[in-house]
Every structure is written in C-alpha cells, then in structure tokens.
Amino acid sequence: MSAETAVLPARPAFARRARVTDLVAAEWLKLWSPWYTAAASAAVVVLSVVIAQHDPKPVVFDAPAWLLMMLAAGLLGAQTVVTEHATGLVRSTLTAVPDRRRLVAAKAAVVVGVTAALALVLASADIVNSRPTTAGSATPGQIAACGALGPVCGLAGMAVATLARHLATTAAGVCVVLGALPLFLQPKQNRWEHDVSNALPYYSWSRLASGSGTMTVPVAWGTLAAWAVASFLITVIILDRRDV
C-alpha cells in the first residue's frame, strides 16, 4: 500500500488547475519577452522628459509630453490582446485556459502593473529632472494621478484591441482614442466640445496632475475610474462571448 502511494502520487504536479499566479506568469512572459516592450518603454521615458524640459509652463508633469506615455501604455495594453489574434496564439491560450474571464483578469493585472510602473518611472524621472521653477512642487495626489493614468490607458488599449482584433486598425484606434481626440477636442472650445473633452483621460489627468481645467477633483478621478472599469468590462465581455 505504502509502496503504491509512493509510485502513484494522487495528482501529478503538472496536472493541477492553473492558478492565477500561473496565468499572471504566462501573461508576463508574453508581454515582456519581445524586445520592443522594454525598448519602447525606455524610449518614451527619455523622450517625454526631454520634451518636458522645453515647456515654459511651471508644471512638474508636462501634459503634452505625457501624451507619449499615454500612447505607449495604450499600445502595450493593446498588443497583449491583438498580437494573440494576429499570430493565432489566442487559440493555444484558450485551449490551455478555457476560463476566458480568468485569462482576461490575469492579462489586465499584468498590463495594469507594467503600465503603472511605466507611469511612475516617468513621474520619478520628471521629478528628478524638474526645472528650478518646478522643483519640489509635486504632491502625493499628483503622483497618484500619474500612476493611475498608465493603467487607464493600458486597459483602454486592451478594449480597443478587443473590438478591432486587427494590428493596424488597433494601432490607429489607440492613436485616435488616446492621442487624436484630446488634440482635436479641447476644453476651451464650445460647450459640447468642453464636456466631451473633459470626459477624456488626458484632460481628467491634467486636472489632477497640473491643476488645469475646470473639473472638480472627484469628477476627474471618477472619469479615470470610469474609463478603467468600462475598458475592462468591454474586454472581458467581448472576449468571453466572441468566437476566435
């Protein structure tokens, strides 16, 4: 009896159900192994800090320069979804993990972690490289808003990719939603443009990080949270319901 138990363990280690940590590890591997993830992140931080040095406005977190970080975070999030569809890897992934909601949760966790780290690194770089006019003026609330902006954009990118499922369309979609809309719609214009632009993450974040605009602080936080939640729900529901 005891010999048999020793030969046949109750359940081989590899046959156990994948735990969330395994899913997160797999998604981390997929996100971080292509060379361009780290390269693009580093390039964005350097470029953004360099551009911010040329802004005469005395703000630590320069809004136009942060647009680059928003695009990078959005594309990082988007590519975790769209490259799976483009390469066909999604079929293997869903065969290995049939529970799609857990899969999306793991993906979102990795994207949130990486984009938050990217945003906080950029925020620290901005603080370290702050000009004499802005030194020492960053508050914890501003830094928190910066840290939140990365995940909001990453999740929005995932939602765009889930809707488009095509490489070029996804890239253009992320550029439009996160980059072109805040350029074309500005809160100083007429009434509807003012309201629509205030609903964009760029202007909500500008309100929190550099105090520009007319929104109240809770509304700005609420807008960022609404973008994150809506994007996550779009990704979960659509990936769960659609064929691949």
């Binding site: 890239a171 550029c175 074309f184």
Partner: protein, 280 residues
Amino acid sequence: MNTSAVTSITATAAANNGITDPARFRDLVAAEWIKIRGQRSSWFLVAFCVLWDSLAAWYSGGHVTGVTPANAGSINPLIYPFNNTAWSLLAVLAASFGALSVAGEYSSGLIRSTIVAVPTRGRIMAAKAAVVAVCAACVGLACSAAALPIAGSQLAGKLTGLGPTGPGVPKAVVASALLLAISSLIGMAIGALIRHPAGAVTATWSALLFVPALLGSGSINLSAAAERMPVQLWTAISHTQPPSPQPAPLAPTPMAWLLYAAWPTISVAVAVWVVRRRDV
C-alpha cells in the same frame, strides 16, 4: 519543313517571347493597383475620408461667428473647407495607407512573391509609390470637391469666393491633393523602415500628428521644427492670402514649395534604398 510549320514555330516563339518578356513598368503599376483595389479596407478608407471632410466643412462652415459685411473682405474663406484639423487627419490617414501598402506586404509575406516575380526591387517600389501617390491625390481631389461646395453653401450670405474660380481656390485644391500624395509617400518610407503594421501605423501617427502637435503647441517652444512638417507647409501654401486674420506659420511660399518637394523625394529615396538593401 513546309511553310506552315515554320510559321507555327515562329508563332510559338513569339508567344513565348511575349510571356517571358521582363515585366514592363505598366505591368508593375497594374499589379500594385490590383493589390490596392482588391482590399475592402481601401474603399472603406476612401469613403471615410470624403465623409469626414464633408462633415468637417459642413460643421466649420456652419459655426462661423464674427463675420460682418465690413470685415468679410479680410477673412480668407479657404480656412473653412481646408480646415487644418480635418486635413491633418486626412494627411495621417493617407500616410497610414502608404505605410500599410508596404508593411502589409511584409506582414502577410506577399513581399516574397512580389520580389520573386520582379527581382528589381527599385522598380517595384517606384511603381508602388506612383500608384499610392496617385490614389491619395485622387482622394484629396474628391475631398476638396466635396468640401468646397458644402462650405460654400454653409457660408452663403456671409462669405464668397469658394467657387472653382475663386481667389486661391485652384492652388489650394492642387496643394491639398499634393498633401495627401506627399503624406502617403512619407507613410511608405515609414512602412519600409518598420515593416510591421501596428508599429508602422503608430510611428506614422506619431511622426505626422503627435510630434508636430507637441512641438507646435503653445506650451512647448519648438514651433520652428513643426513648421517644416507637411500639414504646416500645406497651410502656408494654400491659405496665405495677404489680408488673412489667420496667417500661416511659415510665410515665404517658395521655401514652403521647396520643402513640399523635398518631403516626397526623400521619402521615396528612403523607401527604395531600404527595400533594396534589406533581406525580406
């Protein structure tokens, strides 16, 4: 050997000759046109561009304030059909189209068949550039043709001069068609350099829309660099009329035309050089 056999052999040889002739430039152009025509997304893009520009002309023409009979003469009516925001999106869409015409071949693997069929890569890229630029220019003409009458009817009673013979209208139409052609060629160069659809599209949007907007935005003091970008040159060429209250950022028009010519020349040179040098 009788006469008819000779004739038949000659005929066969002639037929073979016809088939094994090196592809003429006309054939390459036809092949590139088929690649564009055969994609549903191309036609969708054309429809979107014309619709977008019509809507923009309708909206900007309908929301004009501060025009009185006294100051109407000093306002350039071309700023409404040739709205900068609308046309910078058209330019970046044309550039995405150009980028995908190259990057799409690399991502689908079609480039291998293309190069096996036509080993002279410079000629492939020249034919592709010709077709892409002509298509983009035609879309530009269609957009102008839609925007001018729409803005004109919206501005009726306030401003005149948007008819086909209005001051500066022919020049603006030509410059706008060229803007889309130039942008599509810049896109081709980016597509040849990056060769990945998502990367090429992102780089195109960053280079043509985001970076100029960042550099030219009031808060960042690098507008001199942004003035050399295609859309800003287009503004300088097509909207400058002496008494305009919205002067173009770059005044000297000959310089603007020179840069306007330099962008596509350099882009085609980069696209040809990169595709010839690199393995596929």
